[in-house]
Assembly symmetry: C2
Homo-oligomer: 321 residues x 2
């Protein structure tokens, strides 16, 4: 195939979230030529959702020419790379086991591949972002939940059944904080997700009446509000990040002793807290590592815009095939 | 190359332990044609150790014909696959960074490859043992220490620097039992190694004067002695295994959510305790898994004789090249 032909190849990347589904048409250089989104929770049935996607995306496909579109890549919560299914995703309203990639391929007449949202983000980072050229890294997404994508020997680790990389659900504090979704106690996600940080902030501000965090209304107490208070010098706000960073750092040390990655890539809303969370994370990560691992593993913030990373990562599934 | 020629290919497998070093000459079918051992701790210098190995192994090589010997594979504590070095192994007397595979290749005139002892055991299990045909599994060696070898996508996970798979040093009980070797608190090895089990047994028998474990002399209180007492129905001995199994099971759940293996292979002296440790391990592993992982991952005991697995695994490095 001539180079000029190859450069016209396009992929559709779709990132399915609990609230919004974002999509874009992407070229070989990782440029998003056009993008859009639909409301995931507007569609009570999966058939309706796929029809909604088709109405939104097909005009893009026709504009650039269907022959150029080499495939559709999707990232979705609990998306399984091997089976192409979504299985019992807690934050999606379609329950049971859904053959998403098969249904999408049939509707669009274009081959569709699926993986989970964190794996898609990791792939976006590997091909277009902070993990370019790395063969061994771990991506941790710190958002409403804590997700992960693991790359070793240059390959995504899917495990024997496609479900590898649920690091948010590893137990870091046995008997610790209850995760309302899973019923387990002490998981990384219970502490280091945006929700977990809000729980910590509520607890600490109640114990410290002088903290300016007490001026924030209950529903606005998110990691952004804690960050703003920390910037103003509030010690309680800083302690929220120090505590979160300690648990994240301890978890990262365990992960490093598993796969010895070159870097940990952090991604998601929580990283906007910057050094407030980065410094304690590094400190406690190093403290819990064996000497052979110390001062070797970089913690890097994602280089991609959050919305773009998910679309780019999903589209990368097409090139990987 | 004709099949008859290939069938004559031989490999040397060497397992370097803190006390003994075992070796054998192995054919393509995994048969150990001859084996032997030397005392590792008789050799204060690495040069002396290599001379000792040469004196013991070269007669075997000459007997079968040097032309047939395709390589030497070694497993050693802290052995690094990429660099061919042993770095600061806590239970070997040669300190610093030792270029073991280079020195061995020079002495024998045969290419030598190195990996750590647990990775070698995992490779032995993958090629000749309980993990035959598996592409995703985790090997946990429960001996004087707790080691591990991780295989994903059919490949050994070495990490970016060759040090992946130190699962014995992951922290399972933050702030818990001190590991005298590392100074860290609450690592898997502090509880589930033979040494860890003895610590638990000492603590529990002191709290329970009626336990028959109190009849065992201090220096004989190992997992074998606890097993014997459990067989006789001693409840304290059973509790030692229940507690050890709980911590091991919790750790395995974390590992499974990392790489989603088809099976966990357990290996080493501690597995002689059989169901006393297996049942609580399974129970607590399942309890700590997300539903998508439950009742899927088998816990399997190694099928290889302990001494043979290490030699076979080390020799497998030669075929892998």
């Amino acid at each position: 195939m001539a180079l000029t032909d190859l450069s016209k190849d396009l992929a559709i990347g779709i990132d399915v979230g609990g609230t919004n589904t974002k999509f874009g048409i992407v070229n070989h250089r990782g440029e998003i030529l056009e993008k859009g989104e639909i409301k995931t929770d507007n569609f009570p049935t999966i058939e309706g959702f796929i029809d909604g996607l088709y109405s939104a995306i097909n005009p893009m496909i026709e504009k650039y020419g269907k022959a150029h579109v080499k495939g559709i890549g999707m990232g979705a919560p609990n998306g399984n790379y091997y089976s192409g299914t979504i299985e019992y995703a807690p934050n999606l309203q379609w329950k049971g086991i859904i053959s998403l990639s098969k249904m999408m391929s049939a509707k669009f007449g274009i081959q569709c591949s699926l993986t989970n949202d964190a794996n898609a983000a990791a792939m976006g980072e590997m091909i277009y972002g902070a993990a370019r050229g790395m063969k061994d890294f771990i991506m941790i997404t710190l958002g409403a939940g804590v997700g992960s994508g693991i790359v070793a020997n240059g390959q995504m680790i899917y495990g024997h059944d496609g479900f590898a990389g649920e690091l948010g659900h590893t137990i870091i504090r046995p008997g610790g904080r209850l995760h309302p979704g899973t019923g387990h106690k002490g998981s990384l996600e219970a502490y280091c997700s945006a929700t977990g940080i809000a729980v910590t902030a509520k607890k600490l501000r109640a114990e410290n009446p002088s903290s300016i965090l007490n001026e924030v209304p209950e529903e606005g107490l998110d990691s952004k509000a804690v960050f703003d208070a920390a910037v103003k010098g509030d010690e309680v706000a800083k302690e929220v990040f120090r505590y979160t960073g300690q648990i994240l750092g301890e978890a990262l040390a365990n992960f490093i002793m598993f796969s010895s990655p070159e870097a940990i890539i952090l991604f998601g809303g929580v990283i906007k807290s910057g050094d407030f969370i980065l410094y304690p994370t590094k400190e406690h990560m190093e403290k819990n590592l064996l000497p052979i691992f110390q001062n070797k593993v970089r913690i890097v913030f994602s280089e991609l815009k959050e919305a773009d990373a998910a679309i780019l990562g999903a589209s990368a599934l097409v090139w990987e095939k």
